[in-house]
């Protein structure tokens, strides 16, 4: 009986959560291009690579288990949690990461880089 009550409670919570989950929204994050240095630039959600005139933007979320990538080793991005390494294209080259870093949509408008992402 108690187990059934618990199960009912879990279903109620599930229903509530599903309704709440819908409140995800698309947000933008703006970076001043002049503030960027050559090489990797780290932000909370993103990593911006300035390579000569080229700009590449990656999600800072490791594809292995979602840790924030906050640093480099040599020319590679490295995840501090389990040691996955990614090259300048965001491709995994060492460690357990199974796939390439995600690339968010972005546009360059004058000196501004505007990144669009879904905030959960």
């Amino acid at each position: 009986m108690i187990n059934l009550v618990l199960l009912g409670f879990i279903f109620a919570v599930a229903k509530l959560a599903r309704l709440h989950e819908q409140f995800t929204s698309t947000k933008t994050f703006t970076i001043d291009r002049n503030s960027l240095n050559e090489g990797f630039n780290f932000f909370e959600r993103f990593i911006v690579l300035v390579d000569s005139e080229n700009i590449k933007i990656f999600s800072s979320k490791c594809t292995h288990l979602g840790c924030r990538i906050t640093k480099t080793e040599g020319q590679e991005l490295v995840c501090p949690c389990h040691g996955s390494h990614y090259n300048k294209n965001g491709e995994p080259v060492r460690g357990p990461a199974p796939r390439q870093l995600e690339t968010p949509a972005f546009e360059i408008s004058g000196d501004k880089i505007i990144i669009t992402f879904v905030a959960g």
Binding site: I2, N3, V13, A14, A17, R18, H20, E21, G39, F40, F42, K61, H64, L65, G66, C67, R68, T70, K71, T72, E73, G74, V78, C79, P80, C81, H82, G83, G95, P96, A97, P98, G120
Partner: protein, 471 residues
Amino acid sequence: MKLKKFFSGFIYDTYGAIASANLLICTLSGVALAIPFDVSDPYDSISRFIIQNPLAGFFRNFHYWSGQLFLIFTIIHLIDHFYRKTESRVKPDVWLRVTLSLAFTFFVMLSGFILKGDADAMQAWRIFGTLLNDVPLIGDFLAFVLLGREGNFELLYVHHIATATIFLFIVVYEHAKYIWTKARTTFITVVIISILSYFFHAPLHDNIDPVIKGPWYFVGLQEILHWMPQPGWSLLIVLVVLLIVYFIPRMKTSVALSMKQFLVVLLVVYGGLTIVGYFFRGENWKWEPFYFTEAHNSFKVSRLLFRVTDNHMQEIPQVRGRREACLVCHENMQGFTDSHSVEGLGCTSCHLGNPFTLDKSQAHEKMILIPGNLANASKTCGTADCHPDITQRIQNNIMTTNSGMVTVDRYVFNEENNLDELAHIQNIGHSAADEHLRNLCAHCHLGNPKREFGAINEMSRGGGCNDCNLN
């Protein structure tokens, strides 16, 4: 048998009773801790009461150690029942909840760990969320219901103080038939936790140290995950363990015995992995055989000093989201460039030490006095938030190696035929050419460590990053 007798001398009640006493003490200390704790900014509130409110700091340690002992004695309690074959005395539906309570025990512990809000905690939150997301069909739901949105600790806090804790108390009462443990058991447990709390502090990451590790009981899992490109499968291992625990009372005696032996082997292997992860893994989870010398640092948070001074009454300056108690004494420091100003970086970003204390000797422990020296730059200038890539490539920079100068100098002295030969000023010898360098250029290279304090000017050479960039 002698060994068993020896250990039994230290056990002052049943393992279950000691676990229950710890749960009770942990809960009550948690209530006290809830007063200074601010769920909207956990890291800041914990930093502040560690620095300014020693009693709250003590309660935090108390809460931490009672929690760890609760976990340890819960596992020993389960093993003890399996050893004595008494698990079948528990009713099946109660046993189901006992089994589930194992998962809840780890959840309540992990949620407590995450509620520190420091660098370790935030990464643990993301890892746990991603793992739960990997559960087929209900992954999103589980992650959302258990952890809430990243950066908002409210739901996790509710689960920590209410959902999981209430469930654990229900399960304790259901199978043990009591909540209040004996006065003697409670008293001895309080004494043990008090001693632990005074000498060993609940960890709080300074958000500078680049090493990221989960709580000790999940460091073994962190090691396993390091080897798993598809980490979602690790949840299957957890599920299998819980299913084995649940079905053991229903198995034939011989099968149950084999399963119990299997669980013990699994526990021993996991213990080994925990030791590997805790003592032999360093920055970026790299194998570091001598990391064990640093491993205890997580407990280095300042010793409790119950003497309250005028400094304790001051507002502790906050820099980059971290309270910097150093600035209470070292205010008005001058002479830095804007990008390295005290207001922008604080003290510990460069000098390390301990920002969470107002005691001079503790604050200065393990400080790096001249942070720009290249031998230390990876821990100071090169940390994740600052210049991680520069401190790596600077080691091969010609301002560090002076390669061209060394080679040309040797070429002029007829000691070198190839002008393309790479050299490093640190490796020069005592030939005529190298002595020439020693007398003129050698003290300028970036790798030359600066040993004297004071303003950096044209007379003070070397000092790595400081040489050009500090002021």
